[in-house]
């Protein structure tokens, strides 16, 4: 379909799992027979499409391949088979505060952090005030980041991430930021972003968060799509599955 902004077609991804990887020459010589690895397919034949302005949640238990899928979408790693097509500017929020330098001021770090997401200086100038206001750090913006409390640090990092004005936003378990009122603010901001037409893909263990602003959910189980569809329906199946032991 032409209005899909994310197209994932028959994607396979494997990792080499070394049981006991010999790193040094000594280990290699002494334990030459241990240099065995197992090829594990982390994702098997994944296909889905996301339309512009849609939000989808990805759920699944630990180690099911959710984060790997998100890394593939972000182009941090590449699939072994299949293809992924993304349209527009993609911002992957897999970690907050990437590239922060503790000795530099909050102001400097906003510029560094935002530039890593590919924003030009002009774009950052424009977004700057909004970032500072959102992070509620007006009085501390010229202090070095190492003097910040962890809450302030995360607020600043989240404020930058949310102001990137991307077409596609990929989010991995980062909504556990700050106190409840700040979390609330983040969720509302995400809703607002969604309504402005941004496509959002979010990986989370919090089903309620996903239900609050996602249209669809994808449940991934041991590398395959176990269910895809309306959040409520998918979550019900998932909960039943988890309650029955999750095997």
């Amino acid at each position: 379909m032409s209005d899909s902004v994310i197209e994932v077609k028959n994607v396979w991804k494997k990792f080499k799992i070394y049981h006991d990887k010999p790193h040094t020459l000594k280990d290699k010589v002494l334990f030459w027979n241990r240099n065995k690895y197992e090829v594990r397919w982390v994702l098997e034949d994944i296909s889905f499409e996301v339309k512009k302005g849609e939000s989808i949640g990805i759920i699944g238990k630990n180690g099911s391949g959710k984060s790997t899928l998100l890394k593939l979408l972000t182009k941090i790693i590449y699939p072994n088979k299949g293809s992924i097509n993304m349209k527009g500017r993609v911002a992957g929020l897999l970690e907050l505060g990437a590239g922060f330098h503790p000795d530099l001021s909050g102001r400097d770090n906003i510029y560094i952090n935002a530039s890593i997401f590919g924003l030009s200086k002009k774009e950052i100038d424009k977004a700057f005030q909004e970032i500072v206001d959102f992070a509620e750090l007006q009085d501390f913006i010229d202090n070095p980041v190492r003097t910040y409390s962890s809450g302030m640090y995360m607020r600043l990092a989240f404020a930058v991430a949310i102001n990137i004005h991307a077409d596609i936003l990929l989010i991995d378990e980062i909504l556990a930021v700050g106190d409840i009122s700040f979390q609330e603010k983040c969720l509302n901001k995400l809703k607002e972003i969604k309504e402005s037409g941004v496509t959002i893909v979010i990986v989370s263990h919090s089903l309620e968060q996903i239900e609050r602003f996602c249209d669809k959910s994808i449940w991934i189980h041991s590398g395959q799509i176990a269910a895809l569809g309306k959040c409520k329906v998918v979550h019900k199946k998932y909960k039943e599955f988890m309650n029955s032991g999750g095997k």
């Binding site: 941090i76 993609v90 590239g99 530099l104 400097d108 890593i116 200086k121």
Partner: protein
Amino acid sequence: MVFQEIYQYKSMIQSLVYRDLHGRYKGSFFGFLWTFINPLLQLIVYSIVFSIILRMGIENYGLFLFVALIPWIFFASSIQAGSSCIIDNANLVNKIYFPREILPISIVTSCFINMLYSFIIVIAAVIFYGENNVYINYIYLPVLFAVEYIIVLGITLIVSAVTVYFRDLSHILSILLMMWQFLTPVFYPITMVPKEYVYLFELNPMTNIISSYRDILFYNTVPEIFLLFQSFIYGLVLLFFGFIFFGILKKGFSENL
């Protein structure tokens, strides 16, 4: 196209260079002044040691060495720091997408800017110590800077990508760079090299570069344009292969960090 994308991310290069240059001396009393104090102290040490203790039979040896050493330090420190730049930024590479070429480019650029700052001390030393300076020859300096930058970036792209898969490279490089320094006319003039070996020295892309700096700043002559052009071609080939090689290896970076 990768170059288009790198251009899009130019503000990332700027901020990484800024982070490197300003973050380095943050918290120290002299702060950014260290950028100038470092080469100045080196110059003082060399002039004292080589004019009083180790007399080399070359007039004004301290300056002779200094004008070649600063460009050499740019070369060596870029390659050394560049070799581990992907590993050092593992948290970025594992979590965020950006053209990976940004990392080696930023390292080389920040070492390059450091060299430019040091050149303020170099020029001051040349004015102060040098004799019969021909300042018009300095118009060749920017050309020389550019050619050296291209060579350094080409090599750094290659070593930074290889080090991800073969970590020993960064230790091997520190020995290799020391050997390389002795095989490049940094401490001695190329005229000291026995005739039958000169052709071997000319295979080294840094020989022409270092000799040209010395021609301009110490001997007050015009550098040999043909040799400089040869180095430029050398650099372009290195850079071309550097980008291609890096482009192939970068896809596996995250999984190997």
